[in-house]
Point group: C2
Chain length 334, copies 2
């Protein structure tokens, strides 16, 4: 790649997803790679069985502000955002390695607390930290790679079909609202909102059930905003979607601040809920077994044959979709 690209084009201009899309087209497919790049996790054949492999990083001043999260919370969150990717493929986290970049003046006590957060979150999810790397860096970064057991079935972003129902776990928008309030520096936002930013839910149980039951046709975790992540499912499945704005599940805390405004729930990002599609014939089975998930699940719309994601208002008219979602390279630090 790069041939033909003017030398001055920066990642900011191209955007994270534009760049990634160009990159993916160049990657050779290797033997043993069951599912390559472009999904929440890669699936690789390892010792005769499939494993999931995924990596994610948190960077200070990009993903969080040190005034908002304690080192321990930063550690927990770094693990949980990875676990969320594993949940989206129905896997079970097993082992992780941690790559830390730390400013020289960072206190050893803080770093220990950060590590404690990672170790505790891993244990809570049934995984263990088995190795790592520590290096000096100007800004704190935590990059975690997770190796997980793959489920017997495989669900990616690619299986959605027109007519499939679109479901989402939990509620959306709380984490983005917390960040919005923290950045405006107003009085500290409600504890529930901050907790949702600090502690991604990592829907491992729900993800495993949804995949193992064979009910869902496509799944992704909502990390960059519902509309953007639904857009990934649509692009990879070559379909469109229709979402009913009124059905987007939001918390009481969200409603208290935003009333009927669903912008942050649609595009804010950092929800780490699961977004899945399932054929209409599976809906009854899903709703029968909904207790297995350990969290609420809400139908928010339907997959369509057009290639667009359309947002419908309460009167049945189409609403204009604002920002598509979060792109690290195109938006100011949170």
């Amino acid at each position: 790649m790069g041939r033909g690209a003017p030398p001055t084009r920066s990642i900011a201009e191209l955007g994270e997803f534009g760049f990634l899309a160009r990159l993916l087209r160049r990657l050779p497919v290797a033997p043993g790679t069951v599912v390559g790049p472009g999904q929440d996790c890669a699936v690789v054949r390892c010792g005769g069985r499939d494993c999931l492999l995924t990596v994610d990083a948190l960077v200070e001043d990009v993903h969080f502000d040190a005034r908002w999260l304690s080192p321990r919370q930063v550690g927990r969150k770094s693990f949980l955002v990875n676990a969320s990717d594993v949940a989206a493929m129905g896997g079970q986290p097993r082992f992780c390695v941690v790559s830390l970049g730390v400013p020289a003046e960072y206190a050893a006590r803080q770093l220990s607390a950060l590590e404690d957060g990672i170790v505790a979150a891993a244990r809570d999810c049934g995984a263990a930290v088995v190795g790592g790397n520590l290096t000096r860096a100007r800004t704190l970064f935590i990059s975690i790679t997770l190796l997980a057991e793959a489920p017997r079935r495989r669900v990616t972003r690619q299986g959605a079909c027109p007519g499939d129902r679109i479901y989402v776990t939990g509620t959306l928008g709380d984490a983005a609202l917390a960040v919005h309030e923290l950045r405006r520096g107003r009085r500290r936002p409600a504890a529930q909102l901050v907790r949702r930013f600090a502690e991604p839910p990592a829907r491992l149980r729900a993800g495993r059930y949804l995949v193992e039951s064979g009910l869902v046709s496509a799944m992704i975790d909502v990390s960059d905003g519902l509309l953007q992540d639904l857009g990934h499912i649509c692009a990879q499945s070559r379909v469109g979607a229709r979402i009913d704005a009124e059905r987007i599940p939001v918390s009481a805390a969200y409603r208290r601040v935003c009333a009927t405004d669903r912008t942050l729930a649609l595009s804010g990002g950092e929800d780490y809920e699961l977004l899945c599609t399932l054929p209409e014939r599976s809906v009854r089975n899903l709703e029968r077994d909904i207790r297995q998930l350990g969290c609420p699940l809400t139908c928010i719309g339907e997959i369509t044959s057009g290639r667009r994601v359309r947002l419908m208002g309460p009167d049945g008219g189409e609403l204009r979709v604002g920002e598509a979602g979060y792109d690290h390279f195109r938006q100011p630090p949170r």
Copy 2:
């Protein structure tokens, strides 16, 4: 950890290895973990077989200066430093995931070249890039996690015994000398030196042979300087070592600049050669099969029962050991 540590102690004061040692003592051992943290790779049981898992990161202005390495070289090197850890455990790299932190103004063309470097180095080593993550960061960082096939035998840093011979592959000091010359801003150092800094040798073939043959008792890759990495073998094996300064293998290019000074070969770091120990009874077998390694192998000393690493001069007297090796947190940027 952290209890009892004064709140003001920074990682710089504690040092990278001091901090890591304290961290390792706190990590729980998880089921399925065959070899936990503290080695070049973790060994985990995965699908009924053992796999190696390792992570390493390069950070701009800590590990390299953008004036010294092209983006493609940075990409290649990021992969190869990981492959070197796999070589030290005798493994075969299979899959990797890449975590990139990139400044917003970084050119898309540069990032593509960097990715090309990673992909090409992976292919050269028999591995594939199967996933990754891209985020904005103030300074460029590249963190790569490698999943590798484990050999049937297991060699760690822990098996060295008094009387074992100490061997090292290739030559030492060229990479550190290149950095030394580049930092002094003198005329561009010899191409061979710069190549050794840009392109770690990743002794995969030698590592596999040394482990699979059952000859070696302990092994490590020399990334932080011979004395420091030998120190890790000694500490973990609870032994000491005696090294003959005159036997340290150096290149002709190194000798031209440094004459008889072996400081950089002993403590400079970034060699990515293999350092191993083997019982005296295995020496003849090793020297018979030396062609299998694909690189030179030199005996530089012997494991002793004392706990110290001693450096002997040509007259048989002990030399004073200067800097122990490279610690990111205690030394200025390279």
